[in-house]
């Protein structure tokens, strides 16, 4: 566990290293992938990335929440949320070290 945070810049760099494109174009392609996924999700489509996981949107109904500071009841309006379901491959990659120990 190194506990670092990976950002767009790191992913863009990885794309740059993998393919012989400019850094700029690599960053643009990464952005485009994220945009396409976002757009599909906003349209209500599920996004399925094999051996990584799937994203889908779910409609949440209205419920009563509470302002934790004042204790006041406030309605939480119906909203859409995203759900990420990791694939079996991703889950096992995260637990590789413990698998090796066995």
């Amino acid at each position: 566990m190194t506990g670092q945070t990976i950002t767009r810049a790191d992913l863009g760099e990885a794309v740059y290293q993998a393919v012989g494109l400019s850094r700029n174009e690599s960053a643009d392609l990464l952005e485009m992938v994220l945009d396409m996924m976002s757009k599909a999700l906003v349209e209500g489509q599920a996004v399925k990335i094999s051996s990584f996981g799937s994203f889908s949107s779910r409609q949440k109904g209205q419920r009563v929440g509470r302002n934790p500071k004042t204790g006041e009841e406030v309605p939480i309006l119906p909203r859409k949320v995203l759900v990420f379901k990791p694939s079996q491959v991703l889950k096992s990659r995260l637990n590789e070290r413990t698998d090796v120990k066995e």
Binding site: Q4, T5, V33, L41, S50, S57, L77, L82
Partner: protein
């Protein structure tokens, strides 16, 4: 939308790229996220969302069929939190 549809759309928008390069680009993105998470790192993509790893402690589980107690080891679960911008796009009227 599947990974292959994503690759097809990307290839269409970039006709000067080889198909295999487009495939490699998409594979690299998800491979980088996966390897970061398996190191225990977080991946933060502003506007889209952040991937992190949560630890689930070891516990004594039960085989649902036999009722037998089994030790379940500590394990790591990937977690995705939707970014603010994407959350707002999902709920445009608020």
């Amino acid at each position: 939308m599947t990974k292959s549809e994503l690759i097809a759309c990307l290839a269409e928008a970039h006709p000067h790229l080889y198909q295999r390069d487009v495939e490699r680009i998409v594979a690299t993105i998800f491979e980088e996220i996966t390897s970061a998470l398996s190191r225990g790192d977080r991946v933060e993509l502003r506007g889209f969302g952040a991937f992190s790893v949560k630890a689930r402690g070891a516990r004594t589980g039960r085989n649902p069929r036999t009722g037998e107690a089994v030790e379940v080891e500590e394990k790591y679960i990937p977690f995705f939190k939707t970014g603010k911008q994407l959350r707002e796009k999902l709920n445009p009227n608020r």
